[in-house]
Amino acid sequence: MSLKISNTVKGKTAVLRIAGEVDMFSSPQARNAIMELVKQRVPKVIVDLGEVSYMDSSGVATLIEGLQLCHKYNGNLVVAGLRDNVREVFELTRLDKIFQIFQDVETAKANG
């Protein structure tokens, strides 16, 4: 099924809200949305995963790609609102050490 994606850019920060199941089928959609923000060289991208009920390694790969591109222009990409099963994917693949993971978007805005 397709994802629902929306974003708000305010000053140096963009919040990208993704809703749905991020898998091999839908992750290209998430990738497009991230690439758009990266092209604009947004300094801080907060990816809100609060409404993501499932994420596989293709979703995680998309986020790694976004993070690496952000780092190239000294920007950052952080994730927020992870549900237990989504957090588990980050822990399983040790990516909880690479990504800044925040409880929710507000905390992500206030920090880093």
């Binding site: 099924m1 089928f25 390694s57 293709s58 995680v60 790969a61 790694i64 790609e65 588990e88």
Partner: protein, 139 residues
């Protein structure tokens, strides 16, 4: 008594959500909790994605057969495809500290499941057997 459920999908990514819904219920019936269930769903999803990507090179409409065997002490999944037989030696994950997009599926599969066997030397197609023990304190 072993309960057997066979799911036959075509290699079309939108259908993976059907597999995940079915596997979720299979795990619940076997007695896994929510966290283990989500990890098992992830592992089977990664294995199916790899079949679509590597065995079928992205071609849709090809057969993926998922056999779920709920046994008293373990849950077993057998994945069969009719794609090009893989060179089993090449099926391996990247080192985790080499951060790059991709290359995590096999790592996830082997971390989550207790036993993972890719059949070697198949004449046609591929066969992957995965097992996970059922926790004894199941309700």
């Amino acid at each position: 008594m072993t309960k057997i459920i066979v799911l036959n999908l075509t290699s079309d990514p939108p259908l993976l959500s059907v597999m995940r819904a079915a596997v979720s219920k299979v795990c619940e019936i076997a007695g896994f909790d929510a966290l283990d269930t989500s990890k098992i769903i992830l592992a089977i999803d990664e294995a199916c994605s790899n079949i679509i990507r590597h065995a079928y090179k992205g071609k849709g409409g090809q057969s993926i057969r998922i056999t779920c065997k709920i046994k008293p002490t373990k849950l077993e999944f057998i994945l069969e495809d009719e794609g090009e037989p893989a060179d089993v030696k090449k099926i391996k994950s990247r080192p985790l500290d080499e951060i790059r997009p991709g290359g995590l599926g096999v790592y996830i599969i082997t971390s989550v499941m207790d036993k993972v066997i890719y059949a070697d030397g198949m004449e046609a197609g591929n066969r992957l057997v995965m097992q996970k023990s059922i926790p004894k304190d199941k309700k």
